[in-house]
């Protein structure tokens, strides 16, 4: 591929990347501490949970859907995981069971959308409440804390001086990018989101793949729950509130169209990092969390506005 079409094709992503770089430069000027390796690694670590959920969200939004239940699933799978850990299961097995629970919840979302023919917004609005309630019932509303150090090393450990959550995040993004661009599953995700009817008439098993896509969303929420539980050394039934909005924001800032059919994994990573950098920078600058909310909201609007304004108009 020659350079020019390459640039045009990826202009949207580079635009977001450019925004991220600008943001970093601005923060570097504003506070010298920003551009230290420990802070940058810290940002990666802080962004990991949102970024992981956003991987699933990217698949779901590209397929033309939405998942509002991911935040509640983080809480639900977190407390389920904690239950297994407290029952004395070896932590790798407990983690595996937590992930399967997340996958199962995601598949339920998928079945509601495909077999139940519910609009994804409604289906996952419902499961958002159900999963939250289930987490509260299961724990009687109390957090459960204190896990063994092996499990906690998932959050506190390091690989080559890089925090484990950041490593996990990067591995999942590489995998996610691969699945989206190089596999049948990825191609069908785009096709279903781009034109479901045409995909169906081209022999794509739309219901199967949609169900799997929501399953993947649940699985990634569960993975985020594992990291969150390990980091906090505590599973809380009220964890993950508003995580769905952060994940949707990262995905949309990263250039994925809410109409479906378009989007990239790299874009979502950049989107998640923009949100992470922004939070980190504002913290360093001592900006109050109230103001932070306003700024992050403005950035979401700005990112999509730039997209709309600079998108080449169709003939």
């Amino acid at each position: 591929m020659t350079l020019k079409p390459f640039l045009i094709r990826y202009a949207r992503q580079f635009g977001t990347l450019f925004g991220l770089v600008l943001l970093c430069i601005a923060l570097w000027i504003a506070t010298p501490y920003f551009l230290t390796s420990s802070n940058l690694l810290n940002i990666m670590e802080q962004s990991a949970i949102n970024a992981l959920i956003a991987v699933g969200m990217t698949f779901i939004i590209i397929s033309g859907g939405i998942d509002l239940s991911v935040g509640s699933l983080v809480a639900f799978t977190g407390v389920v995981l904690a239950g297994f850990l407290h029952d004395g299961w070896p932590w790798p097995l407990a983690v595996a069971c937590g992930l399967v629970a997340g996958l199962g919840c995601g598949i339920v979302n998928g079945l509601l959308v495909t077999l139940g023919r519910l609009p994804p917004f409604i289906a996952t609005l419902g499961t958002m409440s159900v999963a939250r309630g289930a987490a509260l019932l299961y724990t009687d509303g109390r957090p459960s804390s204190g896990f063994d150090s092996g499990f906690r090393s998932l959050a506190t450990g390091q690989v080559l001086h890089i925090p484990a959550p950041a490593v996990i995040m990067l591995v999942v993004y590489v995998l996610g990018h691969f699945v989206l661009t190089r596999t049948k599953f990825g191609r069908y995700t785009y096709a279903i989101g781009g034109n479901e009817e045409a995909a169906l008439l081209s022999g794509v098993r739309v219901r199967l793949y949609k169900t799997l896509i929501y399953g993947a969303g649940g699985l990634l929420s569960a993975l985020a729950a594992v990291l969150l539980t390990a980091r906090l050394n505590s599973a809380q039934p009220i964890a993950g509130i508003n995580y769905e909005l952060d994940a949707i924001a990262a995905t949309v800032i990263g250039g994925t169209s809410l109409l479906g059919g378009q989007g990239t994994m790299g874009g979502t990573l950049v989107g998640a990092l923009i949100m992470g950098v922004l939070r980190n920078g504002l913290n360093l600058l001592g900006v109050s969390s109230f103001v932070q909310q306003v700024v992050i909201g403005a950035v979401i609007i700005l990112a999509v506005l730039v997209d709309v304004l600079f998108k080449p108009k169709k003939k």
Binding site: T183, Y190, N195, G203
Partner: protein
């Protein structure tokens, strides 16, 4: 009859897009009260010219006069104010509002600011509709109307804006022959009122029925303007393509082999009743019928897209239950859908992804795509079908209609389907591309494919079919051999026994 009053006069219109000279010094004259046909293959520059006339696009050079006054349009609204109306192929009505509300959208009569005068709204609209000789009630909800009636509402809307020039882009593409007659009656009324009409259509027989003059464009250049009486079909085709096509329908004699598809007593409640027929290898069977007669529904049922309630389907001699398009594809069926944009293509995906979508399993191992194989297969299709695209990664929505249709066809060549259902295979594509598609159908049949071709164009059915089935109200009303006449087919489609 056309007067000699100029409604619109264009001279030396030029328009370039990055890398493309879309219009190169085009002249165009429209008289008040004439129907002026604009003819050209896809990509000849018709749409660009219409955009310039309707203010949606600006010319780079040339002059434009409306009723003798030079103008520079600033936008669609300006064009509207100057009396230029356009009715697009895709209708622009708000489905849940009434006819009257649509006609006067944005210009509703008010009792006082903020409060609609509903009675007057209804009355003004009804007067317009009556004037056009239409039997549409102004209070009817648009979504309850048929396509033809909706089109009339668009006409009424344009007239309510006092249009002196009316552009109609493929107005008949979704109409049945009776509806076309009604549209033509309306057009004649408009002519009598002195409205100049620019009429774009790919259906050649219509041009002779309604046109006064014809202007031909080719590759963005002005080829010529003639009175319709001086033209023949062949001379127009020659002007459009720059070459003489030996025949409009290059049908080759078939050598039918064994039965590939047999249907017995197939039914779907309320839609299809007791359908029985068969298609042999090497055969093209035409399926005619009016809109709503169940042709597309039959195709969807065969392809597993809609469930059937009774009946048997045999594929290559073995009874099969086809419950999904996937199963149909695995049995060697292919379905070229009626509407390539909403059913045939994923417009935001590349040419390559679209071509390979139904056959993706062939280019994947363990779910992972084998990029080189996929690219090679797509590249072969692009060469074989002469698909004009800058590259395999080009998005499908950037191609012209004819090339998009070839991509949809290519999908089924990639799966090596040998039972092909073509639903309106040449709708909305130009004459040159049509002939290419016909040739391809010949070649597929010669290679042993069984083809079921649904079409609303009777000449196409007659020109390309070895046998013809005519549907009426969900049943196969009659079967004809290739030598049938248009009148016979039409009579059967209307449910008359001959």
């Amino acid at each position: 009859m056309p007067s000699l009053v100029s409604a619109l006069r264009l001279r030396g219109i030029r328009k370039t897009f990055p890398g493309v000279l879309a219009l190169d010094g085009v002249d165009f004259d429209l008289l008040s009260g004439e129907v002026h046909i604009l003819l050209g293959e896809n990509g000849a520059g018709k749409s660009t010219l219409m955009k310039i006339i309707s203010g949606a696009s600006r010319r780079d050079a040339g002059t434009m006069e409306i009723a003798g006054v030079p103008v520079d349009l600033t936008g669609p609204r300006h064009a509207q104010e100057l009396g230029i109306g356009i009715i697009y192929q895709e209708l622009n009505l708000v489905p849940h509002l009434s006819v009257a509300e649509n006609i006067l959208l944005g210009r509703e009569p008010m009792l006082c600011p903020g409060v609609l005068d509903r009675r007057r709204l209804r009355r003004i609209a009804q007067e317009l509709l009556d004037e056009l000789g239409l039997t549409i009630a102004a209070g009817a909800v648009v979504s309850s109307l048929g396509v033809a009636e909706q089109q009339m509402v668009e006409v009424a809307k344009a007239l309510s804006l006092d249009a002196r020039v009316l552009i109609m882009d493929e107005p008949t593409s979704a109409l049945t022959s009776q509806e076309i007659e009604r549209l033509f009656a309306t057009i004649r009324r408009l002519k009598a009122r002195g409205v100049g009409i620019i009429y774009i259509s790919h259906r050649m027989e219509e041009l002779f029925a309604i046109g006064d003059r014809v202007t031909v464009l080719r590759d963005g250049r002005y080829i010529g303007t003639k009175a319709i009486g001086e033209c023949t079909l062949d001379s127009l085709i020659a002007m459009m393509t720059g070459r003489d096509l030996d025949a409009q329908f290059p049908k080759e004699a078939a050598r039918p082999g064994e039965v590939a598809l047999r249907v017995e007593g197939l039914g779907r409640n309320g839609v299809l009743h007791d359908i029985s027929f068969s298609v042999r290898r090497g055969e093209i069977v035409g399926l005619a019928g009016l809109m709503g007669s169940g042709r597309t529904e039959l195709a969807r049922a065969l392809f597993g897209a809609d469930a059937i309630d009774c009946g048997r389907i045999e594929v290559h001699g073995r009874e099969r239950r086809i419950r999904s398009p996937r199963e149909a594809i695995d049995l060697g069926l292919g379905f070229l859908t009626e509407d390539r944009k909403t059913q045939g293509l994923v417009l935001a995906l590349s040419v390559q992804s679209n071509l390979c979508l139904p056959s993706l399993d062939k280019y994947a191992r363990g779910g992972v795509m084998m990029e080189t194989r996929e690219r090679a297969a797509a590249g072969r299709m692009v060469d074989e079908l002469h698909i004009k695209t800058p590259g395999l990664q080009q998005r499908a929505d950037c191609l012209s209609g004819g090339n998009q249709q070839k991509v949809v066809l290519g999908k089924w060549l990639c799966t090596a389907a040998d039972i092909l259902i073509f639903d309106e295979p040449t709708r909305g594509i130009d004459v040159g591309a049509k002939v290419e598609i016909y040739r391809l159908m010949n070649r597929l049949a010669a290679q042993g494919a069984a083809i079921l071709m649904i079409s609303s164009e009777l000449p196409e059915i007659l020109g390309m079919s070895d046998r013809i089935l005519v549907m009426h109200e969900g049943r196969i009303a009659r079967e004809f051999s290739a030598g049938a006449t248009q009148e016979q087919l039409l009579a059967a489609a209307l449910g008359r026994s001959v």
